[in-house]
């Protein structure tokens, strides 16, 4: 397993290199100019050229890449063209916010989805199953931004129980921090929960049809033992893959939820960076997102043999 881990980590190097080249090139192929965004419409082309020179945008693309990449190797992702903020510390701060929301919502989603999926599969075709499937379809049909605004209106505006927008770090103030996290976590949780439940239900249905399950039941084992000890581990392995993908995509930025609740997360940072053509921010954020994907997939791969002993690393 150690050799596998080292090998996978080494594989990230060419992956990230490729991502770096692609991101650097593609963001520059998009029409628009960060200097133009910075000076707006109040200025003239002479100043615009001066600003472009200050940003290093008057250099050739190859030279710009060389300058940027040398710094990246030194662990310096540059500074934001828009507000002069250092990109690496900014990314880490934003990632911490996103990670709090995503990990909490993922934790609750899994805690609810696994038993629900199991219950639906074990009562396949019953009213319980139909009810659960109906709720899943409903959850999947509600866009997260709409769920967010709805939650905000109910719990923030009408009931006044929770704050509507803003963010307080749990490190600075645990209780206030939790207050600000509740609504975004719930808004994000709905979609995740439905996806994982659906996956769990379908794989469980498949596993419950296998001969060894019939054999276990024929032995007279309790239904809960059959479900949790015999069926669950085999059904969970494919769900784990889905969990890894969801986790990676959300950690890479839950931009919509972050925008709705004004959370200073990675997704919003990236989207703002794209709109402003803030090249260092976009490049740095996408490198980080690529890295998150690689690590999330690695973790899933490492966990896989625990649930599916047929898999050997």
């Amino acid at each position: 397993m150690i050799a596998f881990t080292i090998k996978r980590l080494l594989q990230t190097v060419p992956t990230l290199l490729l991502v770096a080249v692609m991101v650097f090139t593609m963001i520059r192929l998009v029409p628009g100019d960060p200097a133009v965004v910075l000076v707006g419409d109040i200025n003239d082309p002479v100043i615009l050229e001066e600003v472009r020179a200050q940003m290093g945008l008057d250099e050739s693309m190859v030279e710009q890449f060389r300058l940027w990449f040398v710094k990246v190797i030194d662990g310096d992702l540059g500074v934001s063209l828009m507000n002069g903020e250092e990109v690496l510390p900014a990314l880490l701060q934003r990632f911490a916010v996103t990670a709090q929301v995503v990990l909490l919502s993922m934790m609750f989603a899994v805690a609810i989805a696994l038993p629900t999926g199991l219950l639906a599969a074990s009562r396949h075709g019953s009213a319980t199953d139909t009810g659960i499937v109906f709720l899943l379809v409903l959850s999947l049909s509600i866009p997260s931004f709409w769920a967010g605004i709805l939650l905000m209106l109910v719990f923030g505006v009408k009931l006044g129980w929770l704050p509507t927008i803003g963010y307080v770090s749990v490190v600075e103030n645990v209780a206030a921090g939790i207050q600000y996290l509740i609504l975004p976590v719930i808004a994000l949780l709905l979609g995740e929960m439905a996806t994982v439940t659906r996956m769990m239900r379908s794989t469980m249905l498949e596993v419950l049809g296998f001969d060894y399950i019939t054999h276990a039941r024929a032995k007279g084992l309790k239904e809960s033992t059959v479900l949790w000890r015999h069926a669950f581990p085999n059904a969970f392995a494919p769900t784990l893959t889905v969990l890894g993908l969801i986790l990676a995509s959300l950690l890479g930025g839950a931009a919509v939820i972050e925008t709705v609740f004004t959370l200073p997360g990675l997704g919003r940072f990236l989207v703002d960076g794209i709109y402003a053509r803030d090249y260092p921010v976009v490049q740095g954020a996408l490198l980080l997102v690529a890295f998150i994907y690689v690590i999330a997939n690695l973790v899933v791969d490492l966990l896989y043999p625990i649930f599916d002993p047929r898999v050997r690393l």
């Binding site: 100019d33 209106l153 207050q179």
Partner: protein, 536 residues
């Protein structure tokens, strides 16, 4: 007989603890909100360095921290701010400012002429990257520039500016809101001359900037307010709030919910389609004002098709401005095709003359110009919904007269880049607020081969602009404005649509807030019940 309470289970204990913590947090928030105003801004500020890295939100925040020698009053005329008197020599070359006594910087140091000189040396140094250096610098090509030959301090409380030649725009430029000639203390930069933070003279001092979240300012206890009543960026600035928090909230629906849920106190720039809903809320009050920003349709006169004025006139006839203004501002503005804003004292009936909507006349002009159904692309973006909506309706209006108009929806950065390069046929656009119509015309008129952002390149317009830049009598300026509009109507280099309308929504118990044509929020003078009448 008394009964003993049942012992709490660990789960119940845990829940009670969480509930108590949340209540405590609520209590802490309530304490922190004492004399605290929370204002929504839709994007984070760019910097706290005045006039260097900026946008409208940055300008809003920065004007609470810093002040200039002069500023715009509510009537958009230039008034003294850090100065208490201004005199101009007979030849128009020397401007003398007497500094208002008692003004202190946020670090407690008094304002003297020495700090003003230090700031101007800094402004005129290219290394400062001050965006408006070109207005005062001999080496720029800015039309009607106000070249400063010397800045001196004949007395510790007096500053003199010597210009190379008389400039009718000098005071307006000093008062400009996008490039404030803000006087800060030298402590604002470090030993290497690098910017630290603004140590200004304004009613609030810089406190904290959590990027992507909020900017917080606290009341400057030693603020020395000008006398009189509040007057735009000039006049008295009574301060009632102990702190201001500008909260970054990019989503309109969330900002509205936050206002309704008492998560913010003021929401400037409310979309017009939310107006009716917010008006019906008893806990919400609104403040409205026409704005100086000008929404227009740019027409590329260099384009092979649109270089024919008959084509441009046909487009002008095809557009029903009343309809556009009606749906975009919900009847809160009126059409304006003149560069002189509605509400400016110089805007009289002559500026209302424009092409009436007429499909017949438009079709006749198209036939005359030999238009054969060629595609005309209208550039727009989705960032600013008013520009997008305008483009969609204008496309339909052009179709109705037989013009094959197509939308090209770009993101704002791309559309702006095209504006700078002159790469468009027609572009749905909005110009930032400029208080002086002369500055607006100077921005519009000029040779396109030297600067693609000039929208109007004609001999008549250039001659009139030169005359305008030399006019030192307001009546003379007004006459030239009228002539310019007449020529604009004839040549149609741009089709002005309307001056935008601004609405700020606030909690009903917030008083003292006034929207004004400049658009930027002013939070001095704003209070809640019980905030006035004591040591404030």
């Amino acid at each position: 007989m008394t009964t003993q309470p049942e012992p709490m289970t660990p789960q119940l204990r845990c829940l009670t603890l969480i509930a108590n913590l949340l209540l405590l947090a609520g209590h802490a928030t309530a304490i922190a909100e004492d004399r605290h105003l929370r204002v929504a801004i839709n994007t984070d500020i760019r910097s706290n360095n005045p006039g260097v890295a900026r946008d409208a939100n940055t300008d809003t925040v920065i004007h609470h921290i810093v002040e200039s020698l002069v500023g715009y009053g509510a009537d958009l005329r230039v008034r003294p701010v850090l100065a208490d008197s201004i005199s101009v020599s007979d030849d128009g070359l020397i401007y003398r400012f007497h500094i208002r006594p008692g003004v202190r910087f946020h670090n407690g140091e008094p304002l003297t002429a020495a700090e003003v000189l230090w700031n101007w040396q800094r402004f005129l140094d290219p290394e400062t990257k001050w965006q408006c250096r070109r207005w005062y610098s001999a080496d720029s090509e800015e039309p009607g520039k106000s070249v400063i030959v010397d800045v001196r301090a004949p007395q510790p409380d007096t500053v003199e500016f010597e210009l190379a030649e008389p400039s009718v725009l000098f005071l307006d430029r000093l008062a400009n809101v996008q490039c404030p000639a803000a006087i800060v203390h030298p402590d604002s930069v470090d030993a290497n001359g690098e910017w630290r933070l603004p140590v200004g003279t304004g009613p609030f001092e810089f406190s904290e900037w959590k990027r992507g979240q909020y900017v917080e300012l606290r009341r400057f206890a030693d603020y020395h307010t000008p006398e009189g009543t509040p007057d735009g960026f000039a006049g008295a600035k009574p301060v009632y709030a102990d702190s201001l928090r500008f909260i970054v909230s990019p989503d309109h629906a969330s900002t509205k919910a936050a206002l309704l849920g008492d998560g913010i106190d003021l929401y400037p720039g409310v979309p017009m389609n939310s107006l009716a809903e917010l008006k019906a809320e008893k806990d919400i009050a609104l403040s409205e004002s026409p704005l100086l920003g000008w929404t227009a349709l740019l027409v590329q006169t260099e384009d092979s098709l649109l270089s024919d004025p008959r084509m441009r006139r046909a487009i002008a006839h095809a557009i029903d401005r009343e309809q556009i203004v009606g749906f975009n501002t919900y009847g809160h503005a009126s059409p304006n095709s003149s560069a002189v804003p509605v509400g400016d004292p110089a805007h009289d009936a002559a500026h209302d003359a424009w092409y009436e909507p007429s499909r017949e006349k438009a079709r006749a002009l198209l036939r005359e110009a030999g238009y054969a159904g060629e595609i005309i692309e209208i550039q727009t973006n989705r960032k600013y919904s008013n520009m997008y909506d305008n483009a969609v309706v204008i496309q339909a209006m052009l179709h109705s007269v037989g013009i094959n108009a197509r939308l090209q929806v770009l993101d704002w950065a791309s559309q702006l880049a095209n504006y700078y390069a002159g790469k468009f046929q027609v572009s749905a656009f909005s110009f930032s607020a400029l208080a002086n119509p002369t500055m607006r015309y100077a921005k519009l008129i000029g040779p396109k081969d030297r600067r693609a952002t000039y929208q109007w390149d004609s001999e008549r317009a250039n001659e009139l602009l030169a005359e305008l830049l030399a006019a030192d009598d307001p009546e003379h300026s007004n006459t030239i404005y009228r002539q310019l509009h007449e020529v604009m109507r004839d040549e149609v280099p741009i089709i002005g649509l309307y001056n935008a309308h601004s609405v700020t929504a606030m909690r009903a118990d917030v008083s003292g807030y006034d929207s004004w044509p400049m658009g930027l929020s002013r939070l001095w003078g704003v209070y809640r019940p019980g905030w006035r009448g004591d040591n404030h």
